[in-house]
Symmetry: none
């Protein structure tokens, strides 16, 4: 990201990043056309190169914005105190659905970052996201344990990682057929497909079983 970009109004910055996120999400990094991004953003081809060094620089800015949004629009919901960890996780799953409604492009990009071929772009984002996820989730567990909701034989780390695995794969399933297929394969031998609400319910049930949550 070049200085010129930071001089733009926040709205304009967002508009450009959102346009880029949209094209990157829909087409994937390589198929995404710079010209299409410019068109969507309502800026000229040359302008974009005043704001970003090259395509990669633009994508990294989108990824940074993605991290920012995940923190402020998704993970931040976890800090709200709830009656039980069950409520917290339920709220977080709902927040994922909401995030997917408002920022599906960013959710897709977040999911793309977890593939080896995107490794070169994920370096920075990776650490920020996972630090965030682990910090929030572990805090959740600690509070929950102090309320006696969770089986004490499960370590905080294991419980946190378990919850994060379920919620991460849930997020993936919202934007990636592969992962929604995976979920359905496990929970229905007969091949039926679950709705998003059903999936949330099933995940909550499973977590309660695994963590022996007493409500």
């Amino acid at each position: 990201m070049l200085q010129a970009f930071e001089k733009l109004s926040p709205d304009r910055q967002q508009a450009i990043l959102n346009a880029a996120a949209n094209v990157f999400a829909e087409e994937g990094y390589h198929f995404a056309r710079i010209s299409k991004i410019c068109e969507k953003a309502g800026i000229s081809n040359g302008a974009l190169y005043k704001y970003f060094k090259d395509k990669e620089d633009l994508f990294l800015a989108v990824v940074d914005n993605c991290v920012y949004l995940l923190e402020n629009e998704l993970f931040s919901t976890m800090t709200v105190s709830r009656k039980s960890i069950f409520d917290s996780i339920g709220s977080f799953l709902t927040a994922n659905v909401q995030f997917n409604k408002e920022y599906c492009d960013y959710l897709r990009i977040y999911c793309d970052l977890g593939s080896p071929s995107m490794g070169r772009f994920a370096a920075n984002a990776s650490k920020k996201i996972e630090t965030m996820a682990s910090r929030y989730t572990i805090k959740l567990i600690e509070e929950s344990k102090s309320r006696g909701e969770i089986n004490k034989n499960i370590s905080n780390e294991a419980a946190a990682y378990l919850i994060d695995s379920f919620t991460t794969f849930f997020a993936y399933s919202l934007v990636c057929e592969y992962h929604s297929n995976r979920f359905d394969s496990f929970y229905s031998a007969s091949g039926r497909r679950f709705s998003v609400d059903e999936r949330m319910q099933i995940i909550l049930d499973s977590l309660r079983q695994a963590l022996n949550i007493i409500i």
Copy 2:
């Protein structure tokens, strides 16, 4: 895949698919250059196009081979009877490490298939892999429950999905820094990195805790 390819000797077929898998894994589908694949495979540019309609056709053949290998070299190890489900999962994690040693390119491709931007290529593979994974894992659970190893309050589906989530993320962590970072973030507040063996041990411990496995 065209007829001409099937007429080649199995060795030659494997050599070509492996060369392609290697380039696709290292560069990603779009950055992968046909000429580099041909060079690695020791065949001419023209020959490749006698064997495969186009780049996509070649990639899909690699994906098919990937599914085949996953079934025969990885998931098949799950069918071997073990003393406990703990042994079975441990063996499966080891099998993943072994698979990564022999077929790391295919493991990377398998991981890539789970990203939204690869959706168009994953359709067929997705179902085969997940059906396989769920079938084997659920069978494992059933046997284990009949031996009384697992907390009966956890449904078979939840237990199976839980195990698969841990093992899938473990496989991802072998080929994708993003996921190895994620694991480490959860299990070490101080930011230390775990070795592969440590990760396997931690995963087994966590699963034991979550499933109340009695050994």
Copy 3:
């Protein structure tokens, strides 16, 4: 054409040339695929290169065959004595229609030879065909004049060239929409299309008018 080709049985030679003529006629020289020709001819790719030096050599052999057929199956009909030059021309037009039924591929190639971009292939054929055409037609005129059918103020050359122009364009119109359009534009202000039989009748009428043929 290489020696090996001449050693083949006449039938086999014809089969190969006809297959080539068919593909050349339908696709044009450049789009014509050697492999498609081999397939149609029922010979292997390698065999063709035993018979012909290269694609051009094959095409020239087809052109030679085209000239041979034009002479023996088309122009030869002109030598048959008829009651009047009108009968002769009528028979020749009919012969063209017949030739187009049996050898439409060759008629198309003949028409293609008259375009500048085929000049490099037409050199030999050109002279043979036109010598043939002029010789036969001028002879026709001479006989006709001696019978007093034609206006003596028209030179033999002019009369012959005039007839040949009409018959040549008629042949072109059988295989080339451009020339059938051209004919119709001149003979119908309202844009109607003529059948082949109507065109023949119109041509005969026009020639009679121009040559003042007295029947």
Copy 4:
């Protein structure tokens, strides 16, 4: 032809079309190399593809320009009133020679369009050209007949088609050896070649004889 092309200055448009016409005329559609056209036009490879969708689109634009030039630089000369139809035809033949001097590439392309293998490109052009030719020629005949120059036993259509056949083949002979050979074969038994001026003279004589033109 894309919008971008129409935004260029007329000079630049002509320069590009002329460069393309030159290469298409000299090499034929298929042998013509895009890179050679760009070189001749003094533009980059990429620029060409901003102006035209693909090679075919470029060729069709050249054909359109060809039709435009034929109308404005060649057929338009026919509308000038002359003392006699003989003068008109003479002027038209001279105009053909002149057109060949200034636009020989377009004359070659025009001639190429009349071959079956170019049929797919000729559809539009065909109708425009022939409508033009027939309209102008028939008008010429009508005026001439009203002046009593032409044998009234010859129908307007026949006379027009006859004249057009002679002038069309004359145009072809200017750019295509095949057709100049054909002409010479008919008008010289001894195999001598005629100059362009001689051919024009001969054609005029022949037409006068066939139409009984009284000057």
